[in-house]
Symmetry: D2
Subunit: 141 residues, 4 copies
């Protein structure tokens, strides 16, 4: 079941070409990942990091940029989980311009789970594994 | 022939985990691309955009993050061109921690060439094609 | 009547000291100013800029930083208007940590009104003057 | 004796109005402060923070924005020290467009010195006091 968020493109998110600077689109995806915890788990991303000392560093990221997002656009972000392995989670994000509805970017980010104090790899905890599996992509990809 | 730049990791480039926030690594690569023009072409990126009305939107970006960069590190960025096609340029960046020399990330970014006023695709201009071909990756890919 | 917004401190809003990087606090204030239009005027900031070609460049900004904001904090931002003159608007922002409620920063920003195409000064339009005057600070300063 | 740095305005430093987003000008000033240590003290800002566990949180910042900086501009930043007190340092920055030479902004930032581990105030260490006093503003202001 896909997880969806909407947010505005900010005045300072755009660059000289007046479209969202592409690294910012990866930051959008990260923000969706952050808020996913609060919305779907009922525990904030900050709490997971601070209390449980789990970190989620990105080990791989890739994106295709199809159409620009501009200041004033509402961005619709759709997160689906592609895969949960022993020590990593792969998420796929679609970023769309809301009106008229247009696909702006597809982003894929793989995060590893680590001990935030030692940066050593840890297994994805069971409750988080269950959380992400609830949002696995329908067609299995 | 690879093109190399060195720059410091800034106080505000790191996130709560005290490593460079991964979207910022894409921004590092973009900055290397910007300065490449001034250093290797003798014409600033701004001049190419403003006077010649050429834009270089990213159409694809991907990265593997191997080791973190931290505040106080010097980042060594190595740009090599993978391919110049009719209307796009693919560049590969290695970001390394300078001391001890450690590979932090490999990034690949494909930019299209467009008319900055109309956003319509244009062919890579001959002088820019020649510029990028001078930095093509030795082994061809 | 004060205008209030709440938003989370983001993972990448903090710097190496793990507190919100102070220029980001000015960016927070700007974001509050942006959203003030949509919430209180019913017209987005982007619409005012794009359709009416009005710009609001900051001509003065000042802040006292009293306590840090940290990742995981909710920021409560309170906007009050200090003064609306012919061609400028002075706003005062209090940024508070929500729990426990603590004053983090007081910020004062003066924006001028300009024609966004020519950057020439213009008078504050009547509807915007009325909007801002509805949020004038009770004690007059 | 004033301390001067030059750096380019970046593609992504500008906002929708195509001028440098004003919070970024405070970030410029912070970067000048960072590099001041390496250039004038011969010890990097990171080293001072990490090895000596000294922090320099901003307690006050103010700025007048006189003219915009745009993508492609070279920014000339001039740092002068206004005052070094027991536990704080007040610096004044002029940010100028290099060509044609135009004053863009004057910024004043007061930092306190703290123990970076405890955030408790500490006295400005003698070597840093001497460093900053070498760059005190001529007219005493």
């Amino acid at each position: 079941m896909a997880h969806t968020q909407l947010f505005p493109v900010r005045f300072d998110d755009v660059d000289y070409a007046r479209v969202v600077f592409f690294p910012k689109l990866f930051a959008y995806a990260h923000r969706v990942f952050e808020d996913f915890f609060q919305i779907e788990l009922g525990e904030s991303y900050a709490t997971v990091l601070e209390r449980r000392k789990i970190g989620f560093p990105s080990v791989h990221a890739e994106a295709d940029f199809i159409a620009p997002l501009r200041f004033g656009d509402t961005c619709r972000a759709v997160l689906e989980v592609e895969r949960v392995s022993k020590g990593s989670i792969a998420c796929r994000y679609e970023l769309l311009r809301e009106a008229p509805r247009t696909l702006a970017a597809t982003i894929r980010i793989v995060v590893a789970t680590i001990d935030l104090d030692t940066f050593a790899p840890i297994a994805v905890p069971d409750d988080l594994r269950a959380l992400f599996l609830r949002h696995i992509r329908a067609d299995g990809e």
